[in-house]
């Protein structure tokens, strides 16, 4: 079989200072296939793709696209010209510009000085219709669209450049399951139109559903490329982690006690309309539902980050209404926010400072910080949840996603909470690190903490939680106990069918 390879990358090496991010990696993609690229965080997937996209310069190796060798130094622009476009996790959109302006942002004034608005809008509309999203208006402001629709605009932008190769970097991490299904069908459609797709995701189900072949990277090295139909999930996972994966969801031996937080008919802002639930000591309660169902907003209101309009919150037998996160934390209620980069971490500050931020009381006296005690305390804490880091005074930025998330968790462990809310604790985290995070959650529950986990991945709710509350359009659509926790039941409640 003489295969037609549209991408041939060979012996790619890339160093960051002394760190070898990629070592002699080959990567070959056939024309018109959907090729998945997987590996744990830090395996080098993103680095490889950034080299392909011209955002990073390789130290060694060569890149051949459609028979043409890429120049030694590349830029994103030169690679776009060669037909490669990347849809990054953080969209490269200008939020204040319109849909049409964003789609044609790099070719708005081509062939003249002035923009032909009419043809620009018309062309944008055609691109959106091609994707089956004709209802997105070309003159809508991008920042006001939903995340899923913004992603569509991003895809339309790449198609408008006549890209032959589209790279999706974890496109579904920010989508709900119905949106994910839609995206996957768009990707299939693009494939049928002859576009070559490279697909990066941590969600194995999706890879099996959509990809033709899978390439596995580990620790900056190439492991293998396999045909999707010829491999099992387990085999794939052990290729990724280089060992047999221990149980994804470890056992928990927590004693479930009395109700410690009871929320009754909570209303807050425009999103939260009548939410009632309760959580017990030692219990792990899942919050399922579509993105935008009001889960995050409910928790923020209870935590005192947003205002409560009406309703009752009973916390350890007392009627409370926390006015600020400070008050909530002082009373032992913690919230690990969903977006660790925007809300959880001080990226350019030290790991140590991040770890002790919510528990500075423990390491200072009369406002004087005891650096020795702080270091010891942070080290012990990070070690207890097996965080990998170079030096405790390095920037939080220097860590992979999974380890960054552990720093955030460590910060909250240090605060000694009695009730802990975790909003999407494993988003963008690789399989190995996920298990570690589940262990931390188990440890919390076992020590008597009531844990609330918001998760969009249903497998996580099912595997991890004792009970789940499903939210839909700002209300509790229903509650599912352990015995009935199935994807079917969760979807039905979330979708209202």
């Amino acid at each position: 079989m003489s295969a037609d390879y549209i991408i041939k990358m060979s012996n790619i090496s890339k160093n960051f200072g002394g760190v070898k991010a990629l070592i002699n990696v080959p990567f070959e993609v056939k024309r018109g296939e959907i090729h998945a690229l997987i590996g744990e965080n830090g395996a080098g997937k993103s680095t490889l793709m950034k080299i392909l996209a011209g955002a990073y310069q390789k130290n060694e190796g060569e890149v051949v696209i459609d028979g043409y060798e890429a120049p030694r130094t590349t830029t994103p622009k030169s690679m776009i010209k060669m037909g490669v476009s990347v849809i990054y996790q953080e969209f490269m959109l200008a939020p204040d510009l319109t849909v049409a302006e964003n789609i044609y942002i790099d070719s708005m004034v081509e062939g003249g000085v002035f923009i032909n608005w009419k043809s620009l809008k018309k062309k944008a509309k055609e691109q959106l219709e091609r994707l089956g999203f004709g209802h997105i208006k070309p003159d809508a402001v991008v920042g006001e669209l939903s995340i899923a629709n913004q992603q569509i605009v991003e895809i339309a932008k790449c198609l408008a450049r006549d890209s032959k190769i589209l790279v999706f970097d974890e496109p579904t991490a920010v989508l709900t399951f119905s949106e994910t299904e839609k995206l996957l069908s768009i990707i299939r459609q693009l494939k049928s139109e002859g576009v070559t797709i490279i697909y990066i995701s941590h969600r194995l189900e999706e890879l099996f559903e959509i990809s033709d072949r899978i390439t596995v990277l580990k620790d900056g090295k190439y492991v293998d490329t396999v045909i999707t139909n010829e491999i099992t999930k387990d085999a794939l996972v052990s290729m990724m982690v280089g060992r047999e994966l221990e149980q994804l969801f470890p056992e928990r031996n927590a004693e479930i006690g009395e109700e410690v937080l009871i929320v009754d008919k909570l209303h807050a802002g425009e999103v939260v309309k009548e939410v009632s639930f309760s959580v017990k000591k030692g219990e792990v309660l899942g919050f399922s539902g579509l993105i935008g169902a009001g889960r995050t907003e409910t928790m923020r209101a209870i935590f005192g980050a947003d205002k409560i309009d009406s309703g009752k919150v009973v916390y350890f037998g007392e009627n409370v209404r926390f006015k600020s996160p400070k008050e909530a934390i002082e009373n032992g209620l913690g919230l690990v926010p969903e977006d660790r980069k925007q809300q959880g971490l001080l990226l350019e500050q030290s790991i140590r400072m991040n770890t002790t931020l919510a528990a500075m009381k423990k390491i200072k006296r009369f406002d004087i910080i005891n650096h020795k005690r702080e270091k010891k305390y942070a080290k012990e804490l990070l070690e207890s949840i097996r965080t990998k880091y170079g030096h405790i005074d390095h920037e939080a930025n220097s860590l992979s996603g999974g380890n960054q998330q552990k720093i955030v968790l460590a910060k909250w462990l240090a605060a000694d909470c009695k009730v802990m809310i975790l909003d999407e604790p494993t988003r963008g985290v690789d399989v190995g690190a996920k298990t570690e995070i589940y262990k931390v959650i188990n440890r919390l529950a076992e020590s008597g903490v009531a844990v609330i986990v918001i998760a969009s991945e249903m497998s996580e709710i099912i595997g991890l939680c004792d009970r789940a509350v499903v939210m839909r359009m700002g209300k509790v659509a229903g509650e599912v106990n352990k015995e009935n926790l199935t994807e079917d039941n969760l979807i039905k409640l979330a979708m209202g069918v």
Binding site: S324, L346, K388
Partner: protein, 319 residues
């Protein structure tokens, strides 16, 4: 991904201490250019002259750390200078008490800006622009536009050689104090954290607004004290004191490696930054460069110093 600790080579040392290298380099150049540079009198002069800019730079640094900026410091210096001298000249107040009151008035201006920024939500640039105008106006109203003279034996005590130059001693003490405060107190730590990611800090249960407010208050009080220093040197309180001092303070912080995006910067380095600016002026004076060309040269030296900062601190991030 792990970063190895051992590759602390020459380049890294240079990157970590670039502000100091710039300073030492400038000292050497100054020594070569002028034989009068390394004389006791000249060095004392530099110290007396730079005491005020250093204090202002320290206050500015803490504001910049919170992602803010304080344009009012120059005008607040004028308030400090005129309030202290007016109290001494009109009410025959003891100069120490007058200094304390001047600092308190400066603090009030700082608190005013701080409230506008932290609680009303006005951007630091705009809020302090307003305070800048107000404070300058207050200084002019207070003096009716004529500088206030104070007699010898009052305010000039704090610059006198016989008392071992109190303002130099105070400045050194303040530098050390705030260098320690930044490194060893929860307050200093929180100021950096707030500038780094206010949302995360708030969600960690810290009331960020109080910290932002306190940074502006500190900046106001140090600026007023700096104004008193300037008044003491000439025994005159003028409403024009501190003209453009805010820009020198910002430049000092930036030369010292502070980021206007917040969360990054160190007291000692901002002080060095202020000294760098002072040295440039001093050397050009010794070489009798006229004042207008001095400004041109100074501007380019600031650009060069900052470019050096950017170049030496740029490292490709790992993923």
């Amino acid at each position: 991904m792990k970063q190895s600790l051992k590759n602390l080579n020459v380049k890294d040392i240079f990157i970590n201490y670039n502000t100091y290298f710039i300073f030492v380099l400038l000292l050497i150049i100054s020594g070569i250019l002028s034989e009068h540079f390394f004389t006791a009198m000249n060095l004392t002069n530099i110290a007396l002259q730079q005491a005020a800019p250093i204090l202002v730079a320290i206050g500015m640094l803490f504001v910049i750390l919170t992602r803010g900026i304080d344009l009012s410091v120059g005008s607040v210096m004028a308030v400090g200078a005129t309030v202290s001298t007016t109290l001494i000249a009109e009410l025959e107040m003891n100069y120490i008490l007058a200094t304390i009151i001047a600092v308190l008035v400066g603090t009030i201006f700082g608190i005013f800006t701080g409230i506008l920024v932290a609680y009303i939500g006005i951007q630091g640039f705009v809020a302090s622009l307003a305070t800048m105008t107000i404070a300058r106006g207050v200084a002019f109203v207070l003096t009716s536009g004529t500088p206030v003279k104070v007699d010898n034996g009052t305010l000039n005590n704090i610059v006198s050689r016989d008392n071992f130059f109190p303002i130099i001693i105070m400045t050194v003490a303040i530098i050390l104090l705030f260098a320690l405060v930044q490194r060893y107190t929860g307050w200093g730590r929180t100021i950096i954290a707030v500038g780094s990611n206010p949302t995360a800090v708030q969600l960690a249960g810290i009331k960020t607004k109080q910290f932002v407010l306190s940074a502006y208050a500190l900046s106001g009080s140090l600026a007023a004290l700096a104004g008193v220093f300037v008044a003491a040197r000439s025994s005159t309180g003028s409403a024009t004191v501190g003209n453009m001092a805010e820009l020198d303070a910002i430049a000092a912080c930036v030369i010292g490696g502070a980021s206007l995006l917040g969360g990054k910067g160190f007291v000692i380095r901002a002080v060095i930054g202020a000294l760098v600016l002072g040295l440039i002026g001093n050397v050009m004076n010794l070489l009798s460069v006229p004042s207008y060309p001095q400004d041109i040269i100074k501007g380019f030296i600031i650009i060069a110093a900052v470019i050096l900062q950017i170049v030496t601190s740029k490292r490709e991030k790992t993923v």
